[in-house]
Amino acid sequence: MRPLLVAALAANAFAQPSKETLASFEKVWSTVQERYWNPARLESIGWKKIHDDYRAKVERAPDDAAASRLMNEMLGLLGQSHFAVLAGGDDDAIDLMAVPAGDGSTGIDPVVVGESVLVMRVEPNSPALAAGVRPGWEIAKIGSSDIQELAKRVMNGKRALRQRTLLLRALVMARLAGVPGTPVTAVFLDGAGRKVVRAVNRAQPTGRVVRFGHMTQTLEFSARRAAPDIGQVRFNIFLDPPGLMGGIEKAVKSCIGTCKGFVIDVRGNPGGLAILASGIAGFFIDEPDKKLGTLYQPGVTLKLVVNPRVETYAGPLAILVDEASVSTSEILAGGLQDLKRARIFGTRTAGAALPSNVERLPNGDLFQYAVADYISEGGQTLEGRGVTPDQIVEINREALLKGADPVLGAAIKWIRAQTKP
């Protein structure tokens, strides 16, 4: 046997995860054991035996990354969202994390339609708009990454459809993002199917970089009129309460007595602080003691109570959602739908609505774990089901190419119908 090969084999034989990773495994397992809200379910899936099986596998893992993948595999046995070690995971998740970090933005907001990734929106004053990128174009390549191939692979994977959609969108967004000032060249297919190459310099994010605990995100918030007499807010994350709630309050107040309706757009919004769903609902509900739902933890039941604001907007309220509306977005939409306070437009949400904590593990990885079950006010669990819109409106390429937003269009049409004499 050749010496190099022997050395490699020996190295593999003795390679093992670090003691910090083994400690992380124990932390992950025991956190679920202690914090999961349904001990009977843990019993039924044999969580204690799972520990022993996976501890042995993790000890034999060739490196820390493989050990992290095994931890995610173990968490996957719970069959629920919001349980993940955020450094391992499957190949796509690793791929997602391997993309160079940076919050520089092109201004392209992608959407998955079938097995294609389209430009849904181009932000005003963004590098993409300056480069002439148009809604409705299909994204074929970003840098050296073949997006059409990626889309085929992800969309034909084993996950549930909404998870595939969510993952693909995240992978594309990760490729579009990067260090501000760095260029990215993307290949698009325009409405006629012609290849269009555009080089875009990523700009500083237009939003505010916000941090809460271990989470750091850029809050993009916009308030505008969807029509001269219809207010609209759109935001990409439920964080930065002073900034976000201040913006919503201002938009709502400017609409009281002047708007025929109000639109909240949480398409592509992955959630954030769950309590902000109640806080936002308080701008639209005037009656006390209304709830958006209930959280169940071991020994504790917590109601998501809405506190009516001093001034509330009483007119028609529409909420726009899609498959990438996750967690707090779903609690807000599902809760207000159950209370019959809002009409929901778009496509079914992700069905990942469990409140969670994010903690740092001994090996430095982040560990996200759900801490409660969430049941909507209508008595439904949103986990795995999502919020089904009152009016399902699919995004289609033709509309996007015409510069139209069919989901917003449907909401405006409904608002107009509510206010007809």
Partner: protein, 252 residues
């Protein structure tokens, strides 16, 4: 080893009962706490209370600054400025117990929640516990950390949730309190662990409190305590809370 006879058990029980009967009363344990933390005279000198510190949820990487005031006539104010979450405020003035946060907006408290907050507003409460509690009962002893503690059940006036207070037998200091908080979201069992007592203006104060509730743990660290009078404007209702109180006809 010879197994103890039934008679031996009986004797042990009688001996234990006798010892228990000779133990301190609940009142004596509460008086001792006042004594070891500065004495009644020191508490009587408290005309107001300004406390500053920090809070931290270590596991989640969340931290913030805190400031609290207590004044005469059941007035209080507390603010927590949490990084990334904004300010959470609560207070009591003229019988109105309120809360306000950037996350959930302002609200007026009622029922047990209000009663608890008003009780908490009582200045130098440990020396005046009879004003807040109907009775105190000694419930026995229990290990608390490495120490042994007396367990005292304090029943609030007006029938609020009872609180279990644990006092270190050796030092007389309060080591722990457990109760069920009545909150807008529902009942919340809570455990508070007190330690690192330090003296401020002649009074010993626990400068570290570890709070455990709903599976979360956070700690509060006290950096400074001042016992001088607090200006009345510190307790004034914020404009939106005032408007809400007027709208809801909250008790004044």
């Amino acid at each position: 080893m010879r197994r103890p006879s039934r008679n031996t058990f009986g004797l042990s029980f009688l001996a234990a009962s006798a010892l228990f009967a000779e133990g301190p009363t609940a009142e004596a344990i509460l008086d001792r706490y006042v004594e070891v933390t500065g004495g009644k005279a020191a508490y009587e000198r408290v005309k107001g209370e300004t406390m500053t510190g920090v809070m931290e949820m270590k596991a989640q990487g969340v931290k913030g600054k805190t400031v609290s005031y207590r004044g005469p006539n059941l007035t209080s104010y507390m603010a927590m400025e949490i990084e990334g979450a904004g300010k959470i405020e609560q207070g009591v003035v003229d019988g109105v117990a309120w809360e306000k946060s950037a996350m959930a907006g302002p609200r007026i408290k009622s029922g047990e929640e209000r009663a608890f907050q008003i009780r908490e507003a009582l200045i130098a409460r440990d020396a005046h516990w009879r004003e807040a509690y109907e009775k105190a009962e000694l419930q026995g002893e229990e290990a608390c950390g490495t120490a042994t503690c007396y367990k005292l059940l304090l029943s609030p006036k007006g029938g609020g949730r009872p609180e279990m207070h644990f006092f270190d037998k050796a030092t007389g200091l309060r080591a722990k309190t457990t109760t069920v908080l009545s909150t807008q979201m529902g009942d919340l069992p809570v455990e508070m662990l007190f330690s690192e007592y330090k003296e401020f203006s002649g009074l010993k104060v626990p400068t570290k409190t570890v709070n455990r509730m709903a599976g979360q743990e956070f700690q509060m660290i006290v950096n400074s305590v001042d016992i001088g009078p607090v200006p009345a404007e510190k307790f004034a209702l914020p404009a939106d809370v005032k408007a809400l109180a007027a709208k809801s006809g909250a008790k004044k």
